[in-house]
């Protein structure tokens, strides 16, 4: 228990308190900094929430841009969108012709390590840019330029993850693959309560995974042949 200052020692108390006071000359500067910092804290969520297909709120855009370096470097660039706007389907990453999927609770332990891989698989899916655009989208030059940039990043990220996996398999002496492993995006839709409670669906069943396409075509609901695993009612390894 830390020692307490006795009330019966007013002199000592005054001395203690005066030592802990902020000098009046510093206060306005510190308050100014606090206001600046708190503006930086709200800059990203305000900008994030004010965005639409038409525009971002101009005043919030200006605030976010003006405070950009501080917001970014201090790691204040969060919209705080926890489970919002709705809890959504999970996204995983598989490897074509290999029974490997991440995140994987058995492979990645402790739970925090699993969650790191889960975040990477969500990030990989969020970064997705299709191999081609619909013809009607090709008329918008800005849209095309944005897509090209996004596509470059997605391919770079894809190559980076593939190379890392290949390299680590080779280090382990596991020569299952000679060329770069091909990543497959997977989605696990959220089932309704009736499906689960009636026993028609089981959470974690690999048959429910949807293989997401790399191009504009429709998703496939046959993960088994793509991943090289038997389609059974068991979680993917």
């Amino acid at each position: 228990m830390p020692p307490r200052i006795e009330k019966s020692e007013p002199a000592a108390r005054v001395e203690h308190e005066s030592r802990g006071q902020c000098k009046a000359a510093y206060r306005k500067w510190l308050l100014g900094f606090a206001i600046f910092h708190l503006l930086a804290v709200v800059a990203e969520p305000l900008f994030f929430y004010s965005r639409s297909d038409v525009q971002a709120g101009p005043e919030f855009l200006a605030l976010r841009r003006g405070l950009g370096p501080y917001v970014d470097w201090m790691y204040l660039d969060h919209g705080y969108f926890f489970f919002a706007p709705n809890p959504g389907p999970s996204h995983l990453v598989g490897i074509r012709d290999q029974s490997v999927v991440f995140p994987d609770r058995k492979e990645q332990w402790p739970r925090l390590l699993y969650h790191r891989y889960f975040m990477l698989s969500e990030f990989y899916n969020n970064s997705f840019a299709p191999t081609a655009l619909d013809p009607q989208d090709m008329t918008d030059k800005l849209f095309v330029a944005r897509w090209e940039e996004d596509r470059r990043f997605y391919q770079t990220l894809q190559r980076s993850i593939s190379k890392s996996i290949q390299s680590q398999w080779n280090t382990r002496g596991d020569d299952r693959i000679e060329s770069l492993p091909e990543l497959v995006r997977l989605e696990r839709p959220l089932p309704g309560p009736l499906e689960v409670l009636s026993g028609a669906k089981r959470l974690g069943d690999s048959r429910d995974l949807i293989v997401l396409p790399e191009g504009p075509e429709s998703p496939s609901t046959q993960p088994g042949p793509v991943l090289g695993i038997p389609i059974q009612g068991v979680p993917l390894p």
């Binding site: 307490r4 790691y75 969060h78 489970f83 919002a84 993850i161």
Partner: protein, 304 residues
Amino acid sequence: MRGFGIGRFFVDSIKEFWGSLETFFFRPSGAEVLAWIRIATGAMIAYIHLVWLLRLESFFGPRALLDYESLSMLHRNVWKWTYLDGRESLWLACLHEVLALGAGLAMALGLWTRWTVPAAWFLTLMTAHRLAPFLFGLDQIVLMLAMYLSVSRCGDAWSLDQRFGIVQGPVLHWQNTFATRLIQLHLCVIYFFGGLGKARGWMWWDGTAMWYAAASYEYQSLDWTWIGRYATLGSILTHGTLFWEIAYAALVWPRLTRPWILAIAFFVHAGIALFMGMITFGLMMLVANLAFVRLPDPRCDTSS
């Protein structure tokens, strides 16, 4: 005369507001609660870096999942400088992570806190910029707490610094108040925008969000799909969470409502920790809420 009176009223109001603001941010307070937050945050920082070390080669160095080219493209339009830029060698990354782990432990133990707390924050920040795609709410909260603890005197209580006389006993200090207020305000921003984000989704209005959170296999740590049998309970919990998050920023300040708001925070975050596989995140959110706990202190009254 009338105009003069109004002018004086405004001047007096501004002076009064300024005085209140000064009291709010600078009235000296003790370090005990911040010391608890420091212990938990330091331990969590150490754990975070221990987990990075478990798969060092996957996260850092030439064979990392996120290589230099990807990281450069990811950070091309943002200010995210870090010396761990994807070209780092494995031994440098290892040294960095071990130092960060050590700084986290020293922070938790309260050893040389004036240095180790800012060091733990900085080293964790450098890692965060390197590994942005792997991060989630836990990293946001831990870095937020470590940042504000860096400007406090959280080592003045419950610390080896105090035990060994490196700092003088627990004194009231304005830096503790300043840091506490910033944590409190930042927390209000998090909850307010978290609530607003949920208010944009239909599942948070039709009462099914709790079910769909329970049905998310990747998050699940304990099976709580039984909640699907009790649609009304699920809906009440959904709406309770939504309104609590939005109202937090307003209702956590009055003494009358604060205990209730913090009690709900306890149940919400304990639920996330136990059922949704995010024990670290749930725990740190609970720790952050300690900033609103006021201990009876004979030296001062900062409960206002």
